[in-house]
Protein backbone atom coordinates (compact mmCIF):
# COMPACT_ATOMS: atom_id res chain seq x y z
CA UNK A 1 0.00 0.00 0.00
CA UNK A 2 1.63 3.26 -1.08
CA UNK A 3 1.85 6.18 1.36
CA UNK A 4 -0.77 8.84 0.56
CA UNK A 5 -1.12 12.35 2.00
CA UNK A 6 -3.23 12.52 5.16
CA UNK A 7 -6.97 13.08 4.73
CA UNK A 8 -8.67 16.32 5.65
CA UNK A 9 -10.94 16.10 8.75
CA UNK A 10 -14.04 16.47 6.51
CA UNK A 11 -12.99 13.68 4.14
CA UNK A 12 -12.01 11.45 7.06
CA UNK A 13 -15.37 11.86 8.78
CA UNK A 14 -17.30 11.33 5.51
CA UNK A 15 -15.40 8.10 4.85
CA UNK A 16 -16.04 7.05 8.42
CA UNK A 17 -19.75 7.72 7.97
CA UNK A 18 -19.86 5.72 4.73
CA UNK A 19 -17.87 2.74 5.93
CA UNK A 20 -20.94 0.83 7.16
CA UNK A 21 -23.10 1.41 4.09
CA UNK A 22 -24.30 3.93 1.57
CA UNK A 23 -25.86 7.15 2.81
CA UNK A 24 -27.33 10.38 1.49
CA UNK A 25 -26.02 13.86 2.28
CA UNK A 26 -27.91 14.64 5.45
CA UNK A 27 -27.29 11.17 6.91
CA UNK A 28 -23.54 11.66 6.34
CA UNK A 29 -23.69 15.12 7.93
CA UNK A 30 -25.59 13.81 10.95
CA UNK A 31 -23.24 10.91 11.52
CA UNK A 32 -20.15 13.08 11.09
CA UNK A 33 -21.51 15.55 13.65
CA UNK A 34 -22.21 12.67 16.07
CA UNK A 35 -18.74 11.13 15.62
CA UNK A 36 -16.73 14.35 15.69
CA UNK A 37 -18.73 17.38 16.86
CA UNK A 38 -15.64 19.58 16.40
CA UNK A 39 -15.61 18.94 12.63
CA UNK A 40 -19.18 20.07 12.02
CA UNK A 41 -19.73 20.64 8.33
CA UNK A 42 -22.44 22.37 6.38
CA UNK A 43 -24.02 21.21 3.10
CA UNK A 44 -21.54 23.23 0.99
CA UNK A 45 -18.48 21.69 2.63
CA UNK A 46 -20.09 18.25 2.45
CA UNK A 47 -20.77 18.34 -1.29
CA UNK A 48 -17.45 20.07 -2.04
CA UNK A 49 -15.66 17.25 -0.22
CA UNK A 50 -17.84 14.56 -1.85
CA UNK A 51 -17.11 16.03 -5.29
CA UNK A 52 -13.36 15.79 -4.64
CA UNK A 53 -13.71 12.31 -3.15
CA UNK A 54 -15.62 11.06 -6.19
CA UNK A 55 -12.97 12.62 -8.46
CA UNK A 56 -10.21 10.93 -6.40
CA UNK A 57 -12.03 7.61 -6.45
CA UNK A 58 -12.58 7.47 -2.67
CA UNK A 59 -16.39 7.42 -2.93
CA UNK A 60 -19.00 6.92 -5.62
CA UNK A 61 -22.59 7.82 -6.26
CA UNK A 62 -25.02 4.93 -6.16
CA UNK A 63 -28.22 6.65 -7.20
CA UNK A 64 -31.01 8.83 -5.89
CA UNK A 65 -34.22 8.32 -3.97
CA UNK A 66 -37.37 7.79 -6.03
CA UNK A 67 -38.23 11.47 -5.85
CA UNK A 68 -34.60 12.26 -6.85
CA UNK A 69 -34.27 14.64 -3.94
CA UNK A 70 -31.49 12.77 -2.16
CA UNK A 71 -28.38 11.34 -3.75
CA UNK A 72 -26.66 8.33 -2.17
CA UNK A 73 -22.93 7.72 -1.87
CA UNK A 74 -20.83 4.73 -0.90
CA UNK A 75 -17.19 4.20 -0.04
CA UNK A 76 -14.93 2.55 -2.66
CA UNK A 77 -12.07 0.14 -2.15
CA UNK A 78 -9.61 3.04 -2.50
CA UNK A 79 -11.66 4.94 0.09
CA UNK A 80 -11.41 2.04 2.55
CA UNK A 81 -7.66 1.83 1.99
CA UNK A 82 -7.28 5.57 2.57
CA UNK A 83 -9.37 5.33 5.72
CA UNK A 84 -7.33 2.39 7.04
CA UNK A 85 -4.11 4.22 6.25
CA UNK A 86 -5.34 7.32 8.05
CA UNK A 87 -6.42 5.26 11.08
CA UNK A 88 -2.96 3.66 11.18
CA UNK A 89 -1.36 7.08 10.97
CA UNK A 90 -3.55 8.38 13.77
CA UNK A 91 -2.78 5.32 15.92
CA UNK A 92 0.98 5.84 15.46
CA UNK A 93 0.58 9.52 16.32
CA UNK A 94 -1.38 8.56 19.43
CA UNK A 95 1.27 6.03 20.48
CA UNK A 96 4.00 8.61 19.94
CA UNK A 97 2.08 11.07 22.10
CA UNK A 98 1.66 8.47 24.85
CA UNK A 99 5.38 7.62 24.75
CA UNK A 100 6.10 11.29 25.32
CA UNK A 101 3.78 11.35 28.32
CA UNK A 102 0.88 13.20 26.68
CA UNK A 103 -2.43 11.50 27.40
CA UNK A 104 -5.20 12.82 25.14
CA UNK A 105 -8.74 12.16 26.33
CA UNK A 106 -9.62 9.47 23.78
CA UNK A 107 -10.83 5.92 24.01
CA UNK A 108 -10.07 3.42 21.29
Amino acid sequence: MSEKPSLSPAVFSILLALVDGEKHGYAIMKESAAQAPSTKMGPGTLYGSLDRMVADGLAEETGTTDDERRRYYRITRAGREALTQEATRLRSALSALRRKGVRPEVTI
Partner: protein
Protein backbone atom coordinates in the same frame (compact mmCIF):
# COMPACT_ATOMS: atom_id res chain seq x y z
CA UNK B 1 -35.76 28.84 9.17
CA UNK B 2 -37.52 31.96 7.90
CA UNK B 3 -38.87 31.56 4.29
CA UNK B 4 -37.12 34.78 3.32
CA UNK B 5 -33.79 33.36 4.50
CA UNK B 6 -34.47 30.24 2.43
CA UNK B 7 -35.03 32.39 -0.63
CA UNK B 8 -31.84 34.28 0.14
CA UNK B 9 -29.91 31.03 0.61
CA UNK B 10 -31.23 29.63 -2.66
CA UNK B 11 -30.24 32.89 -4.41
CA UNK B 12 -26.79 32.89 -2.79
CA UNK B 13 -26.04 29.53 -4.39
CA UNK B 14 -25.20 31.56 -7.49
CA UNK B 15 -21.86 32.32 -5.80
CA UNK B 16 -20.83 28.72 -6.46
CA UNK B 17 -19.09 27.94 -9.78
CA UNK B 18 -21.64 27.08 -12.50
CA UNK B 19 -20.54 23.45 -13.01
CA UNK B 20 -20.55 22.72 -9.28
CA UNK B 21 -23.89 24.49 -8.83
CA UNK B 22 -25.47 22.54 -11.64
CA UNK B 23 -24.41 19.27 -10.10
CA UNK B 24 -25.03 19.94 -6.42
CA UNK B 25 -27.38 22.92 -5.90
CA UNK B 26 -30.50 20.73 -5.43
CA UNK B 27 -28.65 18.36 -3.11
CA UNK B 28 -27.26 21.25 -1.05
CA UNK B 29 -30.74 22.75 -0.68
CA UNK B 30 -32.29 19.38 0.23
CA UNK B 31 -29.57 18.62 2.79
CA UNK B 32 -29.94 22.13 4.26
CA UNK B 33 -33.73 21.56 4.56
CA UNK B 34 -33.14 18.19 6.21
CA UNK B 35 -30.67 19.81 8.60
CA UNK B 36 -33.15 22.61 9.38
CA UNK B 37 -35.75 19.98 10.35
CA UNK B 38 -33.16 18.56 12.74
CA UNK B 39 -32.48 22.01 14.30
CA UNK B 40 -35.91 23.71 14.26
CA UNK B 41 -35.12 26.17 17.06
CA UNK B 42 -31.39 26.69 16.60
CA UNK B 43 -30.79 30.44 16.31
CA UNK B 44 -27.31 30.03 14.93
CA UNK B 45 -28.37 27.59 12.22
CA UNK B 46 -28.91 30.23 9.45
CA UNK B 47 -25.56 31.80 10.34
CA UNK B 48 -23.72 28.48 10.10
CA UNK B 49 -25.52 27.71 6.82
CA UNK B 50 -24.54 31.02 5.21
CA UNK B 51 -20.97 30.98 6.49
CA UNK B 52 -20.57 27.42 5.18
CA UNK B 53 -21.88 28.58 1.78
CA UNK B 54 -19.47 31.55 1.74
CA UNK B 55 -16.51 29.28 2.55
CA UNK B 56 -17.59 26.73 -0.03
CA UNK B 57 -17.97 29.45 -2.68
CA UNK B 58 -14.40 30.66 -2.01
CA UNK B 59 -13.00 27.12 -1.98
CA UNK B 60 -14.81 25.90 -5.08
CA UNK B 61 -14.11 29.04 -7.12
CA UNK B 62 -10.42 28.79 -6.21
CA UNK B 63 -10.49 25.11 -7.19
CA UNK B 64 -12.18 25.93 -10.50
CA UNK B 65 -9.63 28.67 -11.20
CA UNK B 66 -6.81 26.24 -10.38
CA UNK B 67 -8.29 23.75 -12.85
CA UNK B 68 -8.54 26.38 -15.58
CA UNK B 69 -4.98 27.53 -14.95
CA UNK B 70 -3.68 23.97 -15.19
CA UNK B 71 -5.65 23.55 -18.46
CA UNK B 72 -4.30 26.76 -20.06
CA UNK B 73 -1.09 27.59 -18.16
CA UNK B 74 0.46 29.68 -20.93
CA UNK B 75 -2.55 31.97 -21.22
CA UNK B 76 -2.61 32.60 -17.47
CA UNK B 77 1.11 33.34 -17.48
CA UNK B 78 0.51 35.73 -20.39
CA UNK B 79 -2.34 37.38 -18.46
CA UNK B 80 -0.14 37.85 -15.37
CA UNK B 81 2.69 39.26 -17.50
CA UNK B 82 0.23 41.61 -19.25
CA UNK B 83 -0.88 42.96 -15.88
CA UNK B 84 2.76 43.47 -14.85
CA UNK B 85 3.45 45.19 -18.21
CA UNK B 86 0.38 47.41 -17.68
CA UNK B 87 1.62 48.49 -14.24
CA UNK B 88 5.13 49.16 -15.61
CA UNK B 89 3.93 51.04 -18.73
CA UNK B 90 1.45 53.25 -16.94
CA UNK B 91 3.69 53.66 -13.89
CA UNK B 92 6.37 54.87 -16.31
CA UNK B 93 3.85 57.20 -17.93
CA UNK B 94 2.80 58.60 -14.52
CA UNK B 95 6.46 59.34 -13.65
CA UNK B 96 6.98 60.97 -17.05
CA UNK B 97 3.79 63.03 -16.65
CA UNK B 98 4.94 64.32 -13.24
CA UNK B 99 8.42 65.13 -14.59
CA UNK B 100 7.07 66.98 -17.63
CA UNK B 101 4.54 68.95 -15.57
CA UNK B 102 7.14 69.78 -12.92
CA UNK B 103 9.64 71.02 -15.50
CA UNK B 104 6.90 73.17 -17.11
CA UNK B 105 7.22 75.49 -14.08
CA UNK B 106 10.70 76.53 -15.25
CA UNK B 107 11.75 79.29 -15.91
CA UNK B 108 8.66 80.85 -14.25
CA UNK B 109 10.02 80.21 -10.72
CA UNK B 110 13.20 82.16 -11.31
CA UNK B 111 11.37 84.91 -13.22
CA UNK B 112 8.76 85.23 -10.45
CA UNK B 113 11.47 85.52 -7.76
CA UNK B 114 13.24 88.23 -9.77
CA UNK B 115 10.03 90.15 -10.50
CA UNK B 116 8.82 89.95 -6.87
CA UNK B 117 12.19 91.32 -5.69
CA UNK B 118 12.01 94.11 -8.27
CA UNK B 119 8.44 95.13 -7.35
CA UNK B 120 9.17 95.09 -3.62
CA UNK B 121 11.94 97.71 -4.03
CA UNK B 122 10.29 99.77 -6.82
CA UNK B 123 9.30 103.40 -6.15
CA UNK B 124 7.20 103.67 -9.27
CA UNK B 125 5.95 101.25 -11.92
CA UNK B 126 5.91 102.35 -15.51
CA UNK B 127 3.34 100.50 -17.57
CA UNK B 128 5.18 99.02 -20.53
CA UNK B 129 2.60 99.74 -23.22
CA UNK B 130 0.53 97.15 -25.05
CA UNK B 131 0.88 93.53 -23.89
CA UNK B 132 3.31 91.63 -26.13
CA UNK B 133 2.15 88.08 -25.29
CA UNK B 134 -1.21 86.86 -26.57
CA UNK B 135 -2.16 84.02 -24.20
CA UNK B 136 -4.43 82.21 -26.66
CA UNK B 137 -1.52 81.07 -28.86
CA UNK B 138 1.87 82.32 -27.60
CA UNK B 139 4.34 79.91 -26.00
CA UNK B 140 6.41 82.72 -24.42
CA UNK B 141 6.62 83.22 -20.65
CA UNK B 142 4.77 86.30 -19.35
CA UNK B 143 4.55 88.33 -16.15
CA UNK B 144 1.52 90.05 -14.58
CA UNK B 145 1.65 92.07 -11.35
CA UNK B 146 -1.47 92.54 -9.21
CA UNK B 147 -1.97 94.65 -6.11
CA UNK B 148 -3.31 93.19 -2.83
CA UNK B 149 -6.88 93.59 -4.11
CA UNK B 150 -6.16 91.70 -7.33
CA UNK B 151 -6.11 94.80 -9.48
CA UNK B 152 -3.57 94.69 -12.34
CA UNK B 153 -0.47 96.88 -11.75
CA UNK B 154 1.39 95.87 -14.88
CA UNK B 155 1.21 93.12 -17.47
CA UNK B 156 3.02 92.00 -20.60
CA UNK B 157 0.26 89.53 -21.56
CA UNK B 158 -3.41 89.55 -22.41
CA UNK B 159 -6.10 87.18 -23.57
CA UNK B 160 -7.99 88.70 -26.48
CA UNK B 161 -6.98 92.18 -25.32
CA UNK B 162 -7.98 91.70 -21.66
CA UNK B 163 -5.56 90.95 -18.82
CA UNK B 164 -7.10 87.96 -17.03
CA UNK B 165 -7.08 87.46 -13.26
CA UNK B 166 -6.94 84.05 -11.56
CA UNK B 167 -9.57 83.09 -8.94
CA UNK B 168 -9.22 84.91 -5.60
CA UNK B 169 -8.26 81.64 -3.86
CA UNK B 170 -4.98 81.60 -5.81
CA UNK B 171 -3.94 84.92 -4.23
CA UNK B 172 -5.24 83.92 -0.79
CA UNK B 173 -3.04 80.80 -0.86
CA UNK B 174 0.00 82.79 -2.08
CA UNK B 175 -0.61 85.41 0.63
CA UNK B 176 -0.69 82.71 3.32
CA UNK B 177 2.24 80.60 2.09
CA UNK B 178 4.27 83.16 0.09
CA UNK B 179 3.95 81.26 -3.18
CA UNK B 180 1.56 79.17 -5.26
CA UNK B 181 2.26 76.94 -8.29
CA UNK B 182 -0.61 75.60 -10.34
CA UNK B 183 -2.25 75.05 -13.71
CA UNK B 184 -4.52 77.93 -14.63
CA UNK B 185 -7.16 77.74 -17.33
CA UNK B 186 -8.38 81.30 -18.05
CA UNK B 187 -10.29 79.95 -21.04
CA UNK B 188 -11.41 76.44 -22.00
CA UNK B 189 -8.64 76.03 -24.61
CA UNK B 190 -5.88 77.91 -22.78
CA UNK B 191 -3.90 76.08 -20.08
CA UNK B 192 -1.04 77.82 -18.33
CA UNK B 193 1.62 76.70 -15.84
CA UNK B 194 1.74 79.63 -13.41
CA UNK B 195 3.89 80.56 -10.43
CA UNK B 196 2.48 83.25 -8.10
CA UNK B 197 4.70 85.01 -5.54
CA UNK B 198 3.51 87.44 -2.88
CA UNK B 199 5.64 90.54 -2.42
CA UNK B 200 5.64 93.40 0.10
CA UNK B 201 7.49 96.66 -0.50
CA UNK B 202 7.53 100.27 0.71
CA UNK B 203 5.38 101.50 -2.18
CA UNK B 204 3.80 98.39 -3.62
CA UNK B 205 2.64 95.09 -2.31
CA UNK B 206 0.72 92.41 -4.08
CA UNK B 207 1.39 89.44 -6.31
CA UNK B 208 3.56 88.59 -9.25
CA UNK B 209 2.16 85.96 -11.60
CA UNK B 210 4.57 84.41 -14.09
CA UNK B 211 3.21 81.87 -16.52
CA UNK B 212 3.76 79.96 -19.70
CA UNK B 213 1.54 77.97 -22.03
CA UNK B 214 1.33 74.23 -21.27
CA UNK B 215 0.85 73.39 -24.97
CA UNK B 216 4.43 72.06 -25.45
CA UNK B 217 4.36 70.09 -22.21
CA UNK B 218 0.97 68.63 -23.09
CA UNK B 219 2.28 67.53 -26.49
CA UNK B 220 5.13 65.74 -24.70
CA UNK B 221 2.61 64.16 -22.32
CA UNK B 222 0.46 62.98 -25.21
CA UNK B 223 3.47 61.34 -26.86
CA UNK B 224 4.36 59.63 -23.57
CA UNK B 225 0.74 58.47 -23.11
CA UNK B 226 0.55 56.97 -26.61
CA UNK B 227 4.00 55.40 -26.22
CA UNK B 228 2.87 53.73 -22.97
CA UNK B 229 -0.42 52.54 -24.47
CA UNK B 230 1.04 51.27 -27.76
CA UNK B 231 3.99 49.69 -25.93
CA UNK B 232 1.60 47.88 -23.64
CA UNK B 233 -0.61 46.71 -26.53
CA UNK B 234 2.47 45.44 -28.37
CA UNK B 235 3.55 43.48 -25.28
CA UNK B 236 0.03 41.99 -24.90
CA UNK B 237 -0.02 40.95 -28.57
CA UNK B 238 3.43 39.37 -28.28
CA UNK B 239 2.46 37.53 -25.09
CA UNK B 240 -0.78 36.27 -26.64
CA UNK B 241 1.06 35.02 -29.73
CA UNK B 242 3.73 33.30 -27.59
CA UNK B 243 1.04 31.72 -25.38
CA UNK B 244 -0.83 30.45 -28.45
CA UNK B 245 2.40 29.07 -29.93
CA UNK B 246 3.47 27.28 -26.74
CA UNK B 247 -0.07 25.88 -26.22
CA UNK B 248 -0.03 24.58 -29.79
CA UNK B 249 3.43 23.05 -29.27
CA UNK B 250 2.28 21.41 -26.05
CA UNK B 251 -0.83 20.03 -27.77
CA UNK B 252 1.32 18.59 -30.56
CA UNK B 253 3.72 16.99 -28.08
CA UNK B 254 0.78 15.44 -26.24
CA UNK B 255 -0.74 13.95 -29.37
CA UNK B 256 2.69 12.67 -30.44
Amino acid sequence: MNPLLWKLYRGALILLPAAFRQQYADQILQTARDAAMGHPAALLFPFSLFSDLALTACRENARMLGKQISRHPFFYQALCLSIVAFVLAFGGYAVMHLTIRHSANQPQRQMADDAARMYSIADRVTVTGAPRVELSHSLEPFTIAYDENGKVINSDAALNGVVPAPPAGVFAYARQYGSNELTWQPRRDVRLAIVVRHFTGAHYSGFVLVGRSLATAEQGEMIARWAALLGWIAIVVLLTLSASFFSWMEGRQRTA
